[in-house]
């Protein structure tokens, strides 16, 4: 395998990049369960930092989970029918609409948050409500749901399937439930996992939209990085990893599965 110097250089670069990404992750996991990071592992392993994180930040963890699930419901309700409509009417207008709702992928979250704040900041009841953050999350994750479903719907012969169902007497709504949704499931699943993963990790918009009483997990992380000792920050990061890594793996599995449908 390693016959040529070229291969060796490639391997070295790959390993170096992996180490660059992995080492700090391991450090943070380790620091989160070490009694005193500065003394090293000899100070013993402990779960007290994790417990402390739980005491301090349990609310933020639950808020993030609640937000992610609400965000999922919203993106499903808005995104799946929209993807269907876009798939049924491919054309310039559909392309432009898809392009427009994809803006939050391109425009930095900070700018979007400023825009939302300027328009709705003065509506006090909404501004301090958790749904204000939810709007930001839906805004950011919706294009992923739409595109994921759309790519699957574009790959199957939706029109013929629907014409078949229509010839058997199914109306538009029935066809949507019986034909469109089941066939789009791989895309919906991949989109759903992406939405939840991204919502739990979202920081840029959330930091601007949150209030002191409404801290999500990443906001809490930023807070702990700024004000807590390294072990607590690490333990909190560890909690985040435990939540996000399985989600990420499920998301990659579902996306690969959806991609197979496309072939």
């Amino acid at each position: 395998m390693l016959k040529s110097p070229g291969k060796l250089i490639q391997l070295a670069v790959t390993l170096f990049a992996s180490a660059f990404l992995l080492v700090p992750t391991l450090q943070s996991i380790l620091a989160g369960v070490t009694a005193n990071y500065f003394q090293g592992l000899s100070s013993g392993l402990t779960l007290k930092w994790v417990v402390q994180v739980w005491d301090l930040y349990a609310d933020s963890i639950f808020l993030s989970i609640g937000l992610a699930l609400s965000c999922l419901v919203c993106t499903l309700a808005i995104g799946v029918p929209a993807a269907y409509a876009l798939a049924r009417n491919p054309g310039r207008a559909s392309r432009m609409l898809e392009e427009f709702i994809s803006l939050p992928l391109a425009v930095p979250g900070l700018a979007l948050a400023l825009a939302l704040l300027q328009l709705y900041g003065s509506m006090k009841g909404f501004r301090v409500h958790w749904t204000f953050i939810l709007v930001g999350h839906v805004l950011y994750t919706l294009p992923f749901m739409v595109r994921s479903v759309l790519s699957v719907l574009a790959a199957i012969d939706l029109k013929t399937l629907e014409e078949g169902a229509a010839s058997l007497g199914a109306g538009p709504a029935r066809r949507f439930v019986d034909i469109v949704v089941p066939n789009a499931l791989p895309g919906i699943l991949a989109g759903a996992l992406t939405v939840v993963t991204l919502s739990i990790g979202e920081f840029n918009l959330t930091w601007m939209l949150h209030t002191p009483l409404l801290k999500t997990l990443p906001v809490g992380l930023a807070d702990s990085y700024a004000s807590m000792r390294l072990e607590v920050a690490s333990a909190y990061t560890l909690v985040f990893f435990v939540m996000i890594v399985p989600l990420l793996m499920a998301m990659q599995w579902a996306s690969a599965r959806a991609a197979r449908v496309l072939e």
């Binding site: 990404l21 808005i78 538009p172 990443p218």
Partner: protein, 267 residues
Amino acid sequence: MSSRQFTLLCLLPLAIFALAFLALPIVRLILGSGEGERGWGIYLQILQTPRYLSTLGQTVLVSLATTVAALAISTTAALFLVRNRFPGRGALLAILTLPLAFPGVVVGFMIILLGGRQGLVNAVTPGHVVFAYSVFGLFLGYLYFSIPRVLLTVMAAAEKIDPSLEEAARTLGAPGWRIVLDVVLPALAPAMIAAGAIAFATAMGAFGTAFTLATNIDVLPMVIYTEFTLSANIAMASALSVLLGIVTWALLLTARSFSGATVAAGG
């Protein structure tokens, strides 16, 4: 209800949401940028203020460096991982794509763990080696979240290269490095341009990493943030946001014309 009506009904929730929370806020942001003392002249003011200009320059430079480094590292790794099957390959791939879901703040913390005052490099090297809070730290942070994105895009393209293209070059007597230059890189070029544009745009707009690391780094998102929160200069914050938004959006539009890929998460 006709099919046409049903389709329109399906679009309705999206239309309402996009109008209320995307179109109108963006219009408000653009109008807001013109509501300062200088009116629309604020965009001229950006170009005339050395602090904003140097910030802009610095942001572009760091983003450019990130893009070049991420492309070099990720393309090398992608080619290696696509062409070789070996025990541990799956693990390497998992490690290299893991940070895809890390928000910028977490990436910032990773860099602090590496190069901060209590970081690994400072601990294992003699003397005082702290780079996390410098521009170099920011560069490393951006690199940290760019590597997985570029890697995935380039790997997908590398897997699609017809293996007989390289074989054809070999039968014609081309040595390995020429094959990379004449066959592999041209085949990867669209994906590399797309991935590069994504990396560049993400780095330009990245806020979380800079926020965690920054003691004193002037990059555009940080300046927008301080204008908004500390100086309460809402018009300037809006104008800079509009500028940043247009630049990143235009870049990604270009990127998408080269490949349909969308890889984005966190940042």
